[in-house]
Subunit: 725 residues, 2 copies
């Protein structure tokens, strides 16, 4: 008697508890006929209704939902916006008598109470539910139906069934993958948390599939184009696969906050075998160098093709580029940010400690904090229903594995407004982002006993500039003021006070007395292999003559600010009269730094000075990023729709050494997928040329992106915008 | 020339980045002599100072620091409170000439900038640092020194060295484990975040090593004693090992918020091979049944002895008991809470959905949410410098693996005050705890087509009562008002509104019209094996006669509320006049439920009723937890310090079936460690007696705790308080 209530016994140690359906790639078996209890199948008394065909009305729906650009053969719709289906029955539908359910299912355990099994009635039955449906019109046996998903609906790939309900059971259409459709976030809809009011913003932050990522250093901002390629064939499936591989429960996938937080964890491979393996070692021989990629689709498609094996290798701009593809692809407005002089404060004390030896040289083994040359992260635009209203808007997310956030490598979303006001209590990771922008650089000097004292504090070095690609332009937009009040303003002080009230350590440490003398290092634009001059400017702001004795340490650094080798030590002295300014020139030759050069060829110069008359001390530092040689893209012929034209990428080796193991990439979203050529070597002074014939399939503005990479010279990139007529 | 600056090259893919020292169990090699650069060792010109001995002044320090109860041969101190060391030199110290450093190190990479290498000067040198030191007195060659750690110091085991600084180098005492000492949180110090003002509170929440955990159900609250045993030999080391095994960076171990959050993750084995494996299956044959334990030391010591292999098995009160030991042991005030009718809302919608079939019976396969009979979690007392001030005080933490919090199985700390006010934005996991207390129970009924509608909503069932052991008493304290404003009050409505403003889904779903009739199930105190009667009270609050037709489903449930088997279905009808109350009796026989009984013998009765005259529907449910048979503890002789007395535990099998594979535990913190006996079987009506001879080593109040456990009868516990003269 009771046996039919005791089915579905859970097993294993978690019996007595329940788990959630997790995957979009698994599906349930859905029977074509489900008899009702107690009903015996028998011959129908009237002509039974049955379904002959279902048309997802692809072209018009995609246009209305802004999803035509996706290279995907299934329907793609956005939340809370009606889409059309046409159902062809064997006879006209009688909506007073017939009972028809449209069933939409996702995952391997569809369940009405988990929003993974949605029923919309179009017949006699009245049904409340989160999704709504209406009959728009009937013509003969065809019924045009409008379906509206709800504004917080799970995003992903749904299966469609049409079920005719009779007294005996539920007769369902067979499983047909052609009627599957994707639901995405909807920045066009005011009820969606990712709503974005201005169309120009949506065109950039959701629809633009190419962008610019800024790099270089604060004094010498450079850039590279990046193919986000969110509409490329297979990319949408790969993005959903990332969520499946990361075991993100379907239930959470309607929540934009969860989707971006999980995305920030899953784009890196740490903890969870996510998409990209971070590597800052300089040795990328077991994969592709971070500097060699030109866009996200190659990476995401490789991850999917290889069965979710992490792709080698990435550094911050690669992580940020792929995460931006992920969010835009799912319909969340996103952009890539670069923060110049970004602190990586691994002690959480909002100080970056530089330790100098007794003689003023940098002590590499004791200097463990670092200031990244630049660091790229992402912003996403969304309401934060979990927070007070003022914290909606742009949110920081960052998938570069720097520090664990609450146990896993991920960061955000954290409200940019909250960072600006020092409101650091709110989730997620506000403190870490705040430190990246607001740390002090503290110079310590140790005596011969190993005891250290603070010799100089620089409160303005970190978080100097934050920029992103401007809407509808390739220039950058300075967004520093979105993150920080002007240094020293009342509001800045209030924000710092608020941060301290929210548990940030106070920075009222004993500072040494001001020297009354400012020093600053200047450099011009310098290419790899150049001899160059650094200028040390000395500004005496006292009424006494000052005699400065300075020690200059020159290190090769990774772009993360971690020092590699020290290649230069220099002593300079200068006497500067009261209220006067003077300068000293430091010569740096290529032969000094070339043997030690790593990676992106950044040099760090640290100056430690003491004033003979007053015994006061002061310090400064400066990153010099050396520019790589040029890469040229040339177009021959006029690019026209359906007609061939030629693209030539050329490069000359300007160095006196052989370049080996060269990779050259060329790609253009919407025009060509990634082309990769390898070259064994280029002799000193030698050159290479690579030509590709292209036949455009769509007119409009396109970006050609090229990149040359080899172990001794990296970040050789170029881009060219063309217009296909 | 530059080679000595390029040492310590990090290697592997993370080169160019740095990592943190993580462990307290690893230590660095510390040389006994470190020469200074450029100095050549030569014969000293005056008699060199050297250290002959270091005395950690154990007894007085431990008394002053409230750590005498720890069975540990090393010094244990609390933060920001001075402790004494006596250093014996070869000659009197000259504090104008001699330079002596006390060095304290923790972990395998002690570093001044990471607070893992602390230097306190007691000679001529003036040194600023987080820890302070002073010379209290000198007598001959002996110097009495006072050392004060800082109020946010890392907790754990530190190594002590005394170093004499000369012109040539640093001469250090050899490594001596006897001078190692532990630093703990300090609830006695107003500057520590865990400060607790009242001494009676500290005596209970920090110093009491035995407690009561409440179980049973709301109508029938039962309890079991638990040996927290935080002072037992090896327990402190085991607690620090939990942090080491969980790779909690030393840097975070001064932060009480981090320590308890990590503790809530690490006491369960999910994600991180933590201490305890959760098991709700009913099959515990590969370990110890959750119901069989009597305290935490046995579990923590087994975990440590087995090299951090998770211990089998636990359910909520075991998790809560061990987590309470962990926090009290480290010096954080803590207590165990029981929440009766605790929702486990695994869809996050603040509803517990009960699905009934067309005929009113519970549909087990579709009912996936559950209401736990009771759920035990922990509270810790601390300031929350990361949050607005009003959220300091008691914080919820919970290590029972219910749902992942931000990717890992853990929960909290979340401010009790914030839960009460519906302020759910703040970290950590406020939403989940809020749902445990504030979910609605929603009864749905499905028609034969599988369509469901809401038939009844119960807003008062969940979170009925929260209790904890009262300070200095074995009675319970009702702390419901700390978590909830009175149901229906203005403040309650404001809190619910605030919760909705912070993103909790609104619960304004379409409720069915009120039936005007209340139903309620009543039961007395019932023992396993009893036949019993349930009374269904019907209160007609309308002016019409009502005819109620009721279907009663009786299920066996786990204490998690998940149903096992349905053992009873019954129909009852009653006619109740206007404004009258009537009742119907439902007979339940032992033969009905005994064959289906699981675990802790909880029965769930769900009533679905409809009123014939109005077609309105109503529901109610009731948990009946059956009491286990008695276990008796008897003392023979008067317990006196240093004298033997006898304890006898006895049990009689009241059932008509054989009990097999019996475990019997007896323990008493401070008196005896866990004694465990096994018995092959006890025949029906048979009995067992176990006698233990005890010789008390300390006078005072002691608790004897006994527990009998076998696969067919669980939760047979008993406790007896005795006084040792």
């Amino acid at each position: 008697m009771f046996s039919d209530f005791s089915t579905l016994e859970p097993s294993g140690p978690q019996r007595g508890r329940m788990t959630l359906a997790k995957s979009n790639s698994h599906e349930s078996k859905t029977p074509e006929f489900e008899p009702f209890k107690g009903a015996q199948p028998r011959a129908p008394t009237t002509q039974a209704l049955s379904v002959l065909g279902v048309d997802m009305y692809m072209t018009d729906n995609k246009k209305a939902h802004n999803t035509s650009k996706y290279k995907n053969s299934n329907l793609i719709v956005r939340r809370n916006q009606e889409f059309i289906m046409i159902i062809n029955f064997n006879r006209p539908l009688n909506d007073q008598q017939d009972n028809v359910h449209l069933e939409f299912m996702i995952g391997d355990a569809p369940d009405e109470y988990k929003d993974t099994y949605i029923i919309v009635s179009i017949g006699k039955e009245n049904r409340d539910g989160n999704w709504s449906g209406r009959v728009i019109g009937m013509q003969g046996n065809e019924v045009m139906v409008g379906i509206t998903t709800d504004a917080s609906c799970i995003i992903g790939r749904f299966r469609t069934f049409v079920a005719v309900i009779t007294d005996f059971g539920r007769q369902r259409t067979p499983r047909n993958p052609d009627t599957d459709f994707y639901v995405l976030f909807n920045p066009w809809d005011p009820k969606d948390v990712v709503y974005m009011a201005k169309d120009t913003d949506r065109q950039e932050y959701v629809m633009n599939d190419v962008g610019i990522i800024y790099n270089g250093d604060f004094n010498n901002i450079t850039s590279r184009a990046w193919n986000f390629g969110q509409f490329e064939k297979g990319v949408l499936d790969a993005c959903l696969l990332v969520l499946d591989a990361g075991k993100v429960p379907l239930l959470y996938r309607g929540n934009a906050i969860e989707v971006v937080r999980q995305g920030s964890a899953l784009i890196n491979s740490q903890d969870d075998d996510g998409v990209l393996v971070g590597n800052w070692s300089g040795d990328y021989s077991t994969g592709t160098a971070p500097t060699a990629w030109t866009g996200s689709p190659e990476i995401l498609l490789k991850y999917a093709r290889d069965g979710c094996v992490p792709v080698c290798f990435a550094q911050c701009w690669v992580f940020a580029g792929v995460l931006n593809t992920f969010v835009r692809c799912l319909g969340i407005p996103g952009r890539v940010i670069s923060n110049y002089c970004s602190a990586h404060d691994n002690t959480g004390n909002l100080k970056t400690d530089i330790i100098l030896d007794e003689d003023g040289r940098v002590n590499r083994s004791r200097t463990k904090d670092s200031v990244w040359n630049y660091h790229s992260w992402n912003e996403v635009y969304m309401k934060r229903p979990d927070l007070p209203e003022k914290f909606s808007g742009w949110q920081v997310i960052d998938c570069t594995p720097q520090e664990t956030s609450d146990g896993l490598y991920r960061c955000g979303p954290t409200s940019v407004n909250a960072i600006k006001e020092g409101e650091l209590s709110y989730p997620f990771d506000a403190r870490f982002v705040f430190a990246e922008l607001n740390s002090d650089v503290v110079y310590h000097q140790s005596d011969k006993y190993g005891n250290t004292k603070i010799v100089f504090v620089d409160t303005t070095y970190v978080g100097k500039l934050l920029i992103t690609k401007r809407v509808n332009s390739n220039a950058y937009e300075d967004i520093t003021s979105a993150y920080k009040h002007p240094e020293g303003s009342d509001k800045d002080k209030q924000a710092m006070q608020m941060a301290e009230n929210r548990g940030v350590p106070s920075r009222n440490y004993t500072k040494p007395p001001e020297a009354g003398v400012d020093i600053e290092l200047q450099a011009g634009t310098i290419k790899i292999g150049d001899n160059f001059k650094l200028t040390l400017n000395i500004k005496n702001q006292t009424s006494q003559t000052c005699t400065l004795s300075a020690i200059i340490t020159g290190c090769v650094v990774y772009y993360t600010g971690i020092t590699s080798s020290i290649f230069k030590l220099d002593n300079k002295a200068a006497t500067v009269g009261p209220w006067k300014t003077s300068s000293v020139v430091i010569d740096v030759t290529a032969s000094e730094y070339m043997p030690y050069r790593v990676e992106q060829s950044n040099l760090l110069f640290v100056v430690y000075g003491s004033i003979e008359e007053t015994d006061k001390t002061l310090s400064t530092m400066r990153i010099v990023s050396l520019l790589p040689p040029d890469l040229t893209i040339k177009v021959t012929g006029t690019p026209r729709f359906g007609r061939d034209f030629m693209v030539t990428v050329s490069f000359q080796n300007p160095f006196d050494f052989i370049l080996k193991n060269i990779q050259l990439r060329l790609e253009s979203p919407g025009l060509i997928t990634t082309k990769m050529k390898t070259y064994d070597h280029i002799a000193p002074g030698g050159s290479l040329q690579y030509t590709e014939m292209i036949t455009p399939q769509h007119p409009g503005k396109k970006m050609l992106i090229a990149c040359l990479d080899c172990p001794t010279v990296r970040q050789v990139t170029s881009q060219l915008e063309i217009f296909v007529q």
